[in-house]
Symmetry: C2
Subunit: 273 residues, 2 copies
């Protein structure tokens, strides 16, 4: 992942004219063309959408539920958290593009799911998409108590999108041999001086815990497997999606800042007009 | 592991008289009887030594190389670090009971091994038992430079017995998808206030690193497999042992403090007389 990627984002576009037989006019594809309404491509930087994309499924899901965030949730939960039926999964940033999918996939495979989010509206949303327990971390009197109340017996898996104090507290609520997937650290990105936490050695050793960081590129050769599974669940209605849509490129900066501040539920999408 | 275990230690003793057919007189066994020259046991708290223990192999190795420390090194390196032939392994506390075995087992399976220890005498010892690179962390001008010099291309595995600043620095010398086994944190045990370190999220995420804590009890049902392998390597001369022997129970407190201070090379053993 190059740093610049963050600002360029990814786009779903439609091929208008083509001299490349791999991308006939009318084809939808992911591109790296940046924030432009029209662009010219040799086809090299285009990725075709999953074949047989049903007409009633928005193509923009290729940027979210059936795209990178979906794959991040899918592989992170199954390959890093190694979540199994009957286990209890904790996810923070739970109403975000990735978090909301982590919780739903965990439910699909038969886990109990606890989510943390930063507004009552988000908590309400988490309940509607099947989270067993959800709480607003900004208003609970004690994060430790909230985690204990939601799952008194502790957590087998913790999908961490946030970092910071949340991690420090959750670490001590893990069951023996628990697995922590480090996916993001949104609470830490704005630090000019790196913030510090107590060494993790003693809790990790005593409970036999695993903490593993990842980016989705790790499973590049398995993207198709993941995308097909995600599409299947969307079609079956098992995976609900919610897009936070901002209209017009002019509004991109405020949409980006809003995303970092936690304004959105689900994937932040910007339409050209 | 109960906290009291640390002070009780484990003993190798010989059965003098017996009414239990499982432990005939003359049998050597591990016991939990504490610091006593003689004790009475129903046999419940005794663990027989590995069968067919060769006469020329000291029975005290059942407390070290062919005991808990050996098993800790064996399973920690193979199951937590997942070290594979051709990889580079870093171990700190490398001249200790566990560390010296980690390095040697890593060599046996075909790894490059780098060790850190706290005296020139220990560093010399590490070279004699086959470490590819070893340095005295107390006298190097920069730990980061020492690690880079020993393995410019970085480390696949890091077997951490120490914690603290060593971990902070080593973390940034790991190769992509590196594995860190947290076995101990001797640098942290004396802290009255838990010391802090920068959050590990960003390096773990960016490099896809895994950090996992463990105690050897995790492989209770595989002890025999491990002990037989360790014995085989000792008999073949592939695994060299060095015991730090203190004579007489009266000297136990100073031997224990010395162990925590880093006086010993290899396992600290106390004889009854």
């Amino acid at each position: 992942m190059k740093e610049g990627d963050i600002m360029i984002g990814a786009q779903v576009g439609r091929v208008l004219k083509s001299k490349n037989s791999a991308f006939a006019a009318g084809t939808f594809a992911l591109s790296d063309a940046g924030w432009s309404t029209h662009s010219i491509s040799s086809g090299k930087d285009l990725t075709p959408l999953l074949a047989n994309w049903p007409a009633h499924i928005p193509k923009s899901l290729a940027l979210g539920t059936i795209g990178m965030p979906g794959l991040t949730a899918y592989f992170g939960l199954l390959e890093i958290c190694c979540a199994k039926k009957g286990e209890t999964v904790l996810v923070n940033g739970a109403a975000g593009a990735v978090g909301s999918l982590v919780g739903q996939i965990a439910k699909i495979i038969g886990c109990k799911v606890v989510g943390s989010a930063g507004s009552d509206e988000k908590v309400k949303y988490l309940k509607t998409i099947g989270f067993d327990e959800a709480f607003n971390y900004k208003t609970v009197s004690s994060l430790e108590e909230a985690l204990k109340r939601a799952s008194p017996e502790g957590y087998d898996c913790f999908f961490d999108n946030v970092g910071g104090e949340f991690t420090d507290v959750a670490l001590h609520q893990m069951k023996k041999y628990g697995r922590i997937a480090l996916c993001g650290a949104i609470s830490l990105y704005n630090d000019s001086v790196p913030r510090k936490a107590p060494y993790v050695h003693v809790p990790l050793i005593m409970q036999g815990l695993r903490m593993e960081g990842f980016t989705v590129q790790r499973w590049l050769n398995r993207y198709n497997e993941g995308l097909e599974k995600l599409m299947q669940w969307v079609i079956q209605g098992k995976l609900k999606y919610h897009e936070h849509i901002t209209k017009g490129f002019d509004n991109m900066p405020s949409a980006f800042i809003g995303m970092l501040k936690g304004d959105n539920i689900g994937k932040a999408i910007i339409t050209a007009k």
